[in-house]
């Protein structure tokens, strides 16, 4: 059993319903091949650093998968064909850090609060 981090970038004009469909589709594929999804994160619409296929933004979905390498083969086979996706990437990891969230909006709120406090002082 291996641990993988898998991220997908979808087109900017996908609706939230379509994004849910995508996540469901790929979770089903993982479960079919006896894998386990430890965590799914939605990073939301982010600005792309450069234009990909005339898209300026992309919605990111991040999976943490536990299972064998066959799952990744099957996932990528389906993702190459998928027209809603711009990019995909899998990284093999030794350990998951489930606490660190670099794309949650809470950080921004915290920052704003800090600024407010700073202004008060």
């Amino acid at each position: 059993m291996n641990l993988y981090e898998h991220t997908i970038v979808a087109r900017q004009d996908t609706s939230p319903a379509q994004i849910k469909q995508l996540t469901d589709k790929y979770t089903k594929i993982v479960e079919k091949h006896e894998g386990e999804i430890v965590q799914t994160e939605e990073w939301g619409l982010l600005n792309l650093a450069y234009i990909i296929k005339k898209n300026r933004k992309g919605s990111y979905i991040h999976f943490k998968i536990k299972g064998s390498g066959k799952i990744i083969e099957e996932l990528e086979k389906n993702e190459v064909i998928d027209k809603n996706l711009l990019r995909y990437m899998t990284v093999k990891v030794k350990k998951f850090d489930l606490e660190a969230k670099y794309f949650s909006k809470k950080d921004e709120y915290e920052k704003k609060e800090y600024k407010k406090d700073y202004n008060r002082d």
Binding site: V9, M89, V91, Y102, F103
Partner: protein, 91 residues
């Protein structure tokens, strides 16, 4: 004979000590520790964009380790994770 030897050793020790006192402080002054291998340093990861941007130029190039003082091991990790982030169009 033994007394002379001792004396010689003492001289050597003194001279060594003198050299150390002259040269060692300079070494420590020029030596800067790697900012990523200190205890409590953040882990290098392709998702941590804020950290990666510190070690890149404004044009998006990776800065050399002789400027940033990152250790060789950490520099390898950095370059790998920067390239991963580039592929996902995060940077």
């Amino acid at each position: 004979m033994p007394s002379k030897k001792r004396a010689g050793n003492k001289k050597n020790k003194q001279s060594n000590f003198a050299k150390l006192s002259i040269f060692s402080p300079n070494k420590y002054k020029f030596k800067k520790s790697c900012p990523l291998s200190v205890k409590g340093a953040p882990e290098v990861d392709y998702k941590n964009i804020r950290l990666l941007k510190k070690y890149m130029s404004e044009n998006g190039k990776i800065l050399p380790s002789r400027i940033t003082n990152v250790s060789q091991k950490k520099q390898r990790e950095l370059s790998l994770s920067i390239k991963r982030a580039r592929n996902l169009a995060l940077i």
